[in-house]
């Protein structure tokens, strides 16, 4: 069994408390890290090959480097705990089982980017995680890990915990920023990118919960240690949320070099009820689907990209032979039609239209030409929108139909 980093304490009953966190070595190296030069920390994170674990897989250290040099005025760190991607449920475990790990990660990351105020945007439905995390923030303030001059280092950090109101789009980083600013959660035009002009007009770094939880380990144990855990393009482990027709669904922390086959058949106990694997969505609902023959791929960003799909949020949705792919697409299409923020035309209009077409097909009222219409509409709209939501919807639209066309055609009256 490979070493677990983020989930190492999950088995301890009181792992969410400051007491247990400190007993297991938490906050121990913090004083030394706060004495380090911010540029050194950024450099270490760059060399570690840590890639964003929220969905886009962008190199974290590189993103931090986009904050304008010599910027005067506030810089914000925003933690994306919206966890809305269907099939993804890892951040909630981090918030519930290791909230101080996230807080320590925020302290180190905020120090690196020069932020003295950090926000944590928690998915609205995550009531329990929010409670636990908020309590941990209070504990950290009381113990002097947050607030003015943390541990006498001269480094300040305040943390604001903000709850979302139940929209998938508020997980997209600029939609999140709009929502945080008190506006409707509409994604913003880029440029400007948040690192230049983000929340409240200030340079802002948005990172996923899991990404930030890795940071203290990287800084304390070194970039090469972390890089060596993974592949050439991505360092470390990550938490795979495995759901669907497996024997042991759950969260598995594994090196990103693990293969999809091993994740399903070894770690998650194989397909349940002795059925056969049909298809897997490897990175949350927006990732293009893989067939049962396509699972000999490593689960890092590049490995899945080369396989024509994406690592996304590492939400692995497993479908066995009893699953109807057209029905699965209809459900996914309903989700995207429901969650499109409605701001830009191709996404607003075509997500609804494609859902209506898939529904008719499933109900046996599809038209012969309609599979091609869906493909054409999806291809034409791809890459024309404000945010990546629509490209995320296009992933399943196209891949489900291309890879399982027979199943769709069988439902369409001759």
């Amino acid at each position: 069994m490979a070493e677990r980093i983020l989930t190492r304490n999950f088995h301890l009953p009181e792992s969410h408390t400051l007491r247990v966190y400190r007993e297991t070595g938490g906050y121990e190296g913090l004083s030394d890290v706060l004495a380090m030069a911010p540029a050194t920390i950024i450099e270490t994170v760059k060399r570690s090959n840590l890639r964003g674990l929220g969905g886009a897989g962008f190199p974290t250290g590189v993103k931090w480097g986009f904050i304008p040099k010599g910027h005067q005025g506030p810089v914000y760190l925003v933690i994306n705990a919206d966890e809305g991607e269907p099939g993804t449920f890892k951040d909630r475990y981090l918030l519930e089982k290791d909230p101080h790990g996230l807080i320590e990660g925020m302290i180190v990351s905020a120090h690196a980017i020069g932020s003295r105020l950090a926000f944590v945007y928690v998915r609205g439905e995550y009531v329990q995680p929010w409670r636990i995390f908020s309590r941990a923030v209070q504990e950290a303030y009381d113990a002097g890990f947050l607030g003015k001059s943390i541990l006498g280092s001269g480094v300040d950090l305040d943390v604001v915990v903000h709850r979302g109101a139940g929209a998938y789009i508020c997980g997209e980083e600029t939609g999140l920023i709009s929502s945080l600013e008190g506006k409707k959660g509409w994604p913003k035009l880029k440029p400007p990118f948040p690192a230049v002009r983000g929340a409240f007009g200030a340079p802002t770094i948005v990172n996923n919960v899991e990404t930030i939880c890795h940071v203290p380990h990287i800084v304390q144990r070194g970039a090469s240690w972390f890089a060596a855990l993974g592949t050439a393009g991505q360092g470390g482990t990550r938490m795979y949320s495995v759901s669907g027709r497996v024997a042991r669904p759950g969260v598995y922390e594994l090196p990103v070099s693990v293969t999809l086959r091993s994740l399903i058949s070894e770690h998650a106990g194989g397909i349940a009820n002795g059925r056969r694997l049909k298809a897997v969505v490897p990175g949350g609902s927006s990732a293009p689907i893989l067939t049962a023959d396509e699972i000999d791929v490593t689960m890092d960003v590049d490995g899945l990209k080369n396989a024509g799909t994406m690592a996304g949020s590492a939400g692995v949705i497993v479908m066995d032979e009893s699953v109807s792919i057209p029905e699965a697409l209809m459900i996914v299409a309903r989700f995207y039609a429901h969650e499109s923020c409605g701001q830009c035309t191709p996404c607003r209009e075509s997500t609804g239209w494609i859902y209506k077409m898939t529904r008719r097909i499933v109900e046996g009222r599809g038209r012969k030409e309609e599979l091609d219409t869906i493909l054409d509409v999806a291809r034409r709209g791809a890459g024309t929108t404000i945010c990546a939501f629509y490209d995320g919807a296009v992933g399943p639209y196209i891949s489900y139909i291309e890879k399982f066309r027979d199943e769709f055609e069988a439902l369409i009256p001759k």
Partner: protein
């Protein structure tokens, strides 16, 4: 200044120019819905996509700034395909109710479908339904099904008026424009959202169903509603005279002038032109009051007025000019009173209620040409009485004859009893104006004036900008422009030649009034020029 290439042609534009505006300079039209030069960039409609350099995907032109050496292509197959798809997306849930839609004929869905759409429809499912015919306020009504969610109206209320009445509610294809709870779209500029709405979602409650837009003709003009002098277009209908209850002027629309009103006008100005086709218009020269009133021709009327002006001593006569008159009118009047030696001349009458004013466009002075009257010099001449002094002198029988232009003195800040008493004490009272008002029934001579849309001329706004307005429709009945009436009377009194055309009239004004020196009628152009007001 960045120099870039668009469709193979080079253009140099000021830094900060976006690609829509840069292309426009070359006469290349990049289609768009949500972009508006007066509002922030929303980037929502996705229609303005163009190819930029080697970028693998088209970029939105509205949010891309021109950069030195940039190579832009607006007609590549990918761009054309994207435009076509965006048109299809805009229309799949649209009700396609053009035959009953007031926007038809000036709708950007129609225009762009013909230019950039022309696809075979493939959407067969039930469309999304939304509220229809929802009044948003006194002037604007919404059909949410026709709305393409460009958010221009929302941005207008957020950014221009700062009143924030409108929002987009719900998500996805259920998104809809609406009012925030408890709000009404009743700000003083509310109807501008109708102008900027590219489709038939927001229509004008006053104009809708009045005339089909393809029967309308337009004339450039200036709003006479206050001293700002917002540039407008007069939209009038002569081809279907039975439409719109016979009213010729169908609507007033803002006309862009970056120096004066940008793209906007206020609602008071927009709906302030109703007097043109109103039943209260004075149509024929008339002598005598009430039952004795008799319509006469100008050939009878002009000598009558001339005789009155000749037969009384100048100090027995008062002339109350109006800041609603054009510069040309005021100049002839000034020459006439000087010729006759009349010193009791004024143009100022305080309004009964002080006018409202704001920091956007609206000015408290509800007259279009106060500055012109000041510059031309219609104030009391040496030893002469001002307006109120004239009324007092009339009551005291020192003043025997009064010639009032346009003013309704009963709507002034002065006591009505004083005014009535003064008017009744006069030997004669000439009222010249376009419409009957509170005091016109007291006049024993009525001289019917053309309104500003029935003639041409210039107004000088509060900043001293001299702006032209053009003729849209003919003066009704025997009415004439104030300047022509004055010229005829002046002629009868030996004033000498009065120019026969507005342009000549302006030329003599420019020659005769220092502030206007050097201005030429033609060079005023569409946007006007500053008089030397210093």
């Amino acid at each position: 200044m960045p120099k870039l290439t668009i469709d193979g042609r080079e253009v140099e534009v000021p830094a900060g120019t976006n690609l829509i505006e840069a292309a426009r300079r070359l006469g290349i039209e990049v289609p768009y819905y949500c972009y508006h030069p007066g509002l922030s960039i929303a980037g929502q409609c996705r229609l303005c996509m163009v190819d930029v350099g080697n970028s693998p995907r088209p970029q939105i032109a509205c949010n891309t700034l021109a950069a030195d050496g940039m190579v832009v292509r607006t007609e590549t197959p990918k761009v054309l395909e994207t435009r076509q798809s965006v048109m299809e997306f805009h229309l799949i849930n649209h009700p396609l109710d053009c035959p009953v839609c007031d926007q038809a004929g000036e709708c950007w869905l129609q225009i762009y479908y013909m230019k950039h759409g022309l696809y075979e429809p493939r959407m067969v499912d039930e469309k999304v339904h939304k509220p229809k015919a929802v009044p948003l306020g006194p002037h604007v009504i919404l059909d949410a099904e026709r709305c393409i969610l460009c958010s221009r109206c929302v941005r207008f209320c957020d950014e221009i008026t700062g009143t924030g009445e409108l929002g987009i509610f719900q998500r996805g294809d259920h998104s809809e424009i609406g009012l925030f709870p408890g709000k009404e779209l009743a700000n003083p500029y509310s109807a501008n959202v109708v102008d900027i709405c590219p489709v038939g979602a927001l229509t004008d409650r006053d104009f809708r169903f009045a005339v089909r837009v393809w029967y309308l003709e337009t004339a450039k003009s200036v709003c006479p509603g206050c001293s700002r002098g917002c540039n407008i277009e007069v939209h009038y209908n002569l081809r279907r005279p039975h439409h719109n209850q016979g009213h010729r002027v169908a609507r007033l629309k803002p006309r862009e002038n970056p120096e004066v009103n940008q793209w906007w006008i206020c609602d008071a100005g927009r709906y302030g032109g109703k007097f043109v086709d109103d039943a209260s218009r004075l149509l024929f020269p008339t002598r005598g009051r009430e039952n004795a009133a008799r319509e006469v021709g100008w050939d009878e009327m002009v000598p009558l007025v001339a005789a009155r002006l000749r037969d009384y001593r100048p100090d027995e006569i008062g002339v109350l000019a109006s800041p609603r008159m054009a510069n040309e009118d005021l100049f002839v009047l000034k020459r006439l009173v000087e010729h006759l030696g009349i010193a009791n001349v004024d143009f100022r009458v305080p309004p009964g209620r002080p006018g409202d004013e704001d920091r956007i466009l609206i000015k408290a002075d509800k007259n279009p040409n106060t500055r012109g009257a000041e510059l031309i010099g219609l104030a009391p001449r040496a030893g002469g009485l001002d307006a109120r002094g004239m009324l007092r002198a009339a009551r005291e029988r020192r003043l025997k004859g009064l010639w009032v232009f346009h003013h309704d003195l009963l709507a002034s800040a002065w006591p009505g009893s004083e005014i009535r008493e003064a008017l009744r004490a006069l030997d004669w009272f000439i009222f010249q104006g376009s419409n009957a008002n509170g005091i016109s029934p007291d006049a024993d001579v009525l001289l019917p004036s053309a309104t500003w849309v029935e003639r041409e001329g210039t107004f000088t706004n509060f900043e001293g900008r001299v702006q032209r307005f053009w003729k849209a429709v003919e003066p009704p009945g025997a009415s004439l422009s104030d300047w022509e009436i004055l010229a005829r009377i002046g002629d009868a009194l030996g004033l000498g030649a009065v120019p026969g055309r507005a342009e000549d009239s302006f030329k003599s004004l420019a020659a005769g009034v220092p502030a206007f020196a050097g201005l030429s009628y033609r060079e005023l152009g569409d946007f006007g020029k500053e008089a030397a007001t210093a």
